[in-house]
Structure formats: C-alpha cells, structure tokens
Symmetry: C2
Subunit: 152 residues, 2 copies
C-alpha cells in the first residue's frame, strides 16, 4: 500500500468488468433517441452504408462502457465523476448482438493539495467485443472523492 | 466556394442546432440503463453528492449532442461516422429539465488521396444549456463520405 495515494487507489490498479450484450432492441432504442442515422436503424440502410451492415451507435458503446465500470465499482466505490475525455478512438464497429466488456488501468494520480483524501486520476479504458477485439479505447480524467460510507 | 474541399464543406463551416430538453424521465431512464449511480437516480442522493443536486449523466449529454447534430444535418447530410474524440471537457453539470443546444465549427479538413470526394474533418463541438453556458466541449474527428443521393 505504499504507493496508495487516495481512497486506497494506486497507479497501475486495474479493473476487469462483467459483460453486457448490445441486444438488437437496445441498439435500435438508443439509435432512435440519440443517433437516428439510417445505418443504425435499418438493416437495408446498414448494408448500403460504409459499414456494410447494421451497426450500433458509437455513443452507445461509450454509455455501455460506463455502465460496466459503474457495476465493477472501478475506483473502489468512489463516485465516478468525469472531468475530461481524451484520445477516444473508435477502432471497430459494434454490431447488434455483440457482447462488450471493459478493462481499465490507472495511469496517473494527482492528489488535491487542500484535501489529500481526494484528487484526480487518469484512466486508460478499453472496451472489447466477444472476440476479444478492442472496439473503443479512451483516456478518462476523473475526480475521485473518498468513497461514501454507505458503499459496502 | 474556392475553399471547399469535399462534399461542399469548408473550414470554418458552422452548424447551429435545434434544442432538446433533458426531461427528468429521460434523465432517469438513461441513468438506470447506462450510468446507475445514486447522484443520477435519486433526489436525496443527488443533494448529498458532490453536485449538491440531482444531475444527468455526462454520457447522456454526449448522446443528446449527437442527436442534435444529426437532426441539424451537420456535414451537409453526409453520414456522421466518428473516428476519434479528443479534448472533451465536462464544464458544468446538466440537470434534469435543462434544455441543450449545440454549435459546431469545422477546424480542419484532410481529403483522401485516393478518393477526393471524401476525407476526414476535425470539428469543435460545444453544447450549451438554456442559460447559454457551455456544459461540454469536444473535438471530433469524423470520416466524411459524399452525402447519399437520397439525402434531400
């Protein structure tokens, strides 16, 4: 624990999440509301598109990534408060029916001078599909407060 | 039009979108599925949180930003295909009931050598609330194909 900086976290800490299936129904529901482009909505339009098939919205991949890290209690149960997002790369399309999982690693930590129980962390976040191929990588900067007392 | 590079687009082109209200019901629905943290789900937990009130998920702000630029036919009706996202900064919380709008500007364009009708664009994307305060800024890199013939 000598390299623990705050909230019991340390550089190099990794989180491996569970899995989440992007069902065709969820993919359509998300696209209708947040990314209503034909390539996300309609099989035929998907086949005629750049992707050659129906694909899920990349923004849904981001949202599912968040769900998986929340469920995995990344950052030892501290609330996940995003300050910045950099170097996000959409590496491969996600297709309806794909199953996603996420791996994260803390790359850097900066304690608050005024409140040594909190600080910011930089986290590499990589989302994989069921073939273990990365579909999205990102660098998150988050504010870490102490974990709430109620978090078991 | 002398500085038009592809698909009728030019550096400096701006898009101003319509508006979208993050209703409390939509905020809750998104949080339950994609960002199930107490500060997004429950008034009491919101008040006890870092934010001091119930707030919407930042990932929903991103998703709504996409919807607004799709509706506004940013990039002259070409499909919006994201390659990368950089320099995203969550500047202010978005609260249930807030009304969002987006302004975008093309900062750079790189035509494809093989296919001069297509290329990549870098776009500054800023999301504002109903008080005209920026809540999120981002830099998008998108692949631009020619607009489909069916796009009116």
């Amino acid at each position: 624990m000598t390299d623990t900086l705050f909230n019991g976290l340390a550089i190099g800490d990794r989180t491996i999440t569970g899995r989440f299936t992007v069902t065709p129904a969820l993919s359509l529901e998300f696209a209708r509301l947040y990314d209503p482009q034909p390539m996300h909505l309609d099989d035929e339009a998907g086949r005629a598109s750049f992707f050659g098939e129906l694909v899920a919205s990349g923004w849904q991949t981001m949202a599912i990534t968040m769900r998986l890290v929340v469920e995995a209690r990344m950052l030892a149960g501290a609330p996940l408060i995003g300050l910045a997002l950099d170097q996000a790369r959409f590496l491969r399309p996600v297709k309806p029916g794909d199953e996603l999982r996420v791996e994260t690693e803390i790359l850097a930590m900066t304690p608050s001078r005024a409140r040594p129980d909190r600080g910011t962390v930089q986290i590499k976040v990589v989302t994989f599909n069921q073939k273990d191929m990365p579909v999205l990588e990102q660098l998150w900067t988050m504010l870490v407060l102490a974990a709430p007392a109620t978090a078991a």
